[in-house]
């Protein structure tokens, strides 16, 4: 198993898978970093976005990469509305309650999708989905390479947004010191909603990147949630760069431990690493001290 002929493609695979994980985690880390809530509804929102990407292709004939633009806007609005009109008011600012609200939302979204679209698995069959780029012994699937590039781009855009724009600075201010931010005139409720919207928008992009090679049914998004949490912690809650790097790292770890321990037991590699990081360096790679 140690031969480079297998190791190199495995690492490359891990990077590409990790990129998509990173994007999903990016949404989660923003939401956690700013609102300090663990968003249980993240998986269900991903599923909803994947259905949206599916129907954009099936009904409107839109290629998922093109659909990403309108869907990002749509899901940003959805996320904004959810935080502003459901989670915020119902949660009363109490961590416990917000937890239950996001849990309730997850149940509602997943089952609404079941009622509306039934349980069958839906897939998109794109003409270029089976094209590969050969790099040495590795066959890299074109959609996955595109996904990698897009994720890096999105992370960069988000990072610039957080650093250079007023809204981005306001978000960082609220994340660091909510009361102070409020005193300086920032509308915290609005910022919370914007952040949640951004998080949901990330998930929408991830959905469009996944659909060419994956599938969707009402429970499909749940498979990515735990691993997204792991990446959020690893990268440091609230850190964009952290989420990207940790995501890639986790992808590679998953790939290699899957090779050495088998896909089932290999999943353990991620969680053991997760536990070790939490025990010894909870702030993660780039986060604030716990």
């Amino acid at each position: 198993m140690l031969s480079p002929a297998i190791l190199v493609p495995a690492v490359l695979n891990g990077l590409m898978t990790g990129a998509v994980y990173a994007l999903i985690a990016l949404g989660l880390t923003l939401i956690y970093g700013v609102l300090h809530i663990i968003n249980f509804a993240h998986g269900a929102l991903l599923t909803a976005a994947m259905f949206a990407a599916f129907f954009a292709n099936n009904v409107l004939g839109l290629d998922p990469y093109l659909a990403a633009l309108p869907l990002t806007v749509l899901f940003f609005a959805l996320g904004y509305a959810l935080q502003r009109f459901v989670i915020g008011p119902a949660g009363h600012g109490d961590d416990r309650n917000i937890l239950l609200v996001t849990l309730g939302l997850a149940i509602v979204i997943e089952n609404a999708l079941l009622v509306a679209f039934r349980a069958d698995t839906r897939t998109i069959n794109l003409p270029y989905a089976f094209d590969v780029i050969e790099v040495g012994t590795a066959f890299l699937a074109v959609p996955r390479v595109i996904a990698f590039a897009v994720v890096v781009l999105v992370a960069l855009v988000l990072w610039l947004f957080m650093r250079r724009t007023d809204t981005g600075k306001a978000i960082r201010a609220v994340a660091k010191e909510k009361f102070g931010a409020e005193l300086s005139g920032i509308d915290v409720g609005h910022i919370y909603a914007v952040t949640f919207g951004l998080g949901t928008a990330c998930v929408a992009v991830a959905a469009c990147l996944l659909m060419p090679t994956y599938y969707v049914n009402p429970t499909a998004g749940n498979a990515f949630v735990l691993i997204a949490f792991t990446i959020v912690v690893l990268g440091g809650m609230g850190s964009v760069a952290g989420a990207l790097i940790a995501g890639l790292f986790v992808g590679v770890v998953e790939s290699l431990s899957g090779l050495y321990l088998g896909e089932s037991l290999g999943q353990i590699g991620i969680f053991v690493m997760f536990i070790l990081v939490l025990l010894f360096r909870p702030s993660g790679l780039f986060g604030e001290r716990a």
Binding site: Y32, L100, L103, P282
Partner: protein
């Protein structure tokens, strides 16, 4: 000295259920509700009273379930003994995870996530380890004798789970009245202040976690005896971790009856939505989720909080005094 009357009344009322109804549908419903309440009681000690939310109570539930199942199936150990060992095993796992986590100073969301990770690790190991039957799971042989902790009728199961819940309620009340309980609540409210006052917060948290784990493990042992089949997803899956926190929070975290109230409300809601929604798959759960959000929106301190507020309003009205200021 708090009155034990409310506890006695509630337990007596619940005990009367099998005498009042012969319906197995109701009995089964109540057994499952009480089981949820039991695991919730465990969570509530650590999360409600202690303020340390766990997302991984499945780790203890599952350990209790597997311990008793494996001991019976592979080593022929008596079911009652297995039950006791299962509780001890769960408590040990709780102590282990607690020791690691609290000594590293994990709090809040970090603590919650580490418990989640531990539960996941256990689930993965259980799904590949030969001793648990790996993917195939463990099936306890049907043996309807009291010595094997299996019964033809649902009623003895009901007594057992009710007894376990009653014991857990008594334990909660005793803790509430004790110094240990005071320390626990103090560190929930402000851990640094508690430490400054000389409370050994790490030890207190560890003790709470161990007891919490033992109670959850008891739930797991009971599950194994009632359903006679477990696999990695059932024992260590997220469904039980979620149920463990849902019941207490809905019912009122940090109260003695919170988990019981919450479990009954949540389970009844599940059945009611099924009735209303008919046979359309998933529609009942959509309604369930919406009602859950509404409950949280309108009862932020849980059902117990609602009841408390109602009682206060009523008392204020009665004595014609102006309403006491709400905290």
């Amino acid at each position: 000295m708090r009155a034990w009357a409310p506890i006695a009344i509630v337990v007596a009322l619940l005990a009367a259920v099998p005498l009042v109804t012969a319906s197995n549908v109701v009995l089964n419903f109540m057994v499952v509700a009480l089981l949820t309440a039991l695991v919730g009681q465990g969570w509530n000690l650590l999360g409600g009273y202690g303020g340390q939310y766990s997302f991984g109570h499945a780790a203890f539930f599952g350990t209790g379930a597997y311990a008793t199942a494996i001991l019976q199936v592979r080593y022929g150990v008596n079911a009652w003994l297995g039950f006791a060992i299962g509780i001890a095993a769960g408590a040990a796992v709780g102590a282990f995870i607690g020791a690691l986590s609290f000594r590293s100073g994990l709090k809040g969301s970090y603590f919650a996530l580490v418990t989640l990770a531990f539960a996941e690790v256990l689930r993965i190991v259980a799904s590949v380890a030969p001793i648990t039957g790996a993917g195939v799971g463990t099936l306890i042989k049907l043996d309807l004798r009291a010595e094997a902790l299996q019964f033809q009728s649902r009623v003895p199961f009901y007594w057992i789970i009710l007894g376990l819940v009653a014991v857990s309620v008594v334990i909660m009340r005793m803790i509430e009245d004790s110094r240990f309980g005071a320390y626990l609540v103090a560190l929930r409210e402000n851990e640094d202040a508690a430490k400054a006052l000389g409370v050994n917060t790490t030890l207190v948290k560890l003790a709470a976690m161990t007891i919490s784990a033992a109670i959850a493990a008891a739930g797991g042992c009971f599950y194994a005896q009632y359903f006679l089949f477990i696999d990695a997803g059932i024992a260590y899956g997220p469904w039980i971790s979620i149920a463990a926190l849902l019941a207490p929070i809905v019912g009122g975290a940090g109260t003695v009856f919170g988990p019981l109230l919450g479990a009954l409300v949540v389970k009844t809601l599940g059945e009611a939505t099924k009735l209303v929604a008919g046979d359309a798959p998933g529609l009942d759960l959509v309604i369930y989720g919406c009602v859950l959000i509404l409950i949280v929106a309108f009862a932020p301190s849980g059902i117990a909080g609602l009841l408390l507020k109602a009682r206060q309003r009523f008392a204020a009205l009665k004595s014609l005094r102006p309403e006491p200021p709400h905290g």
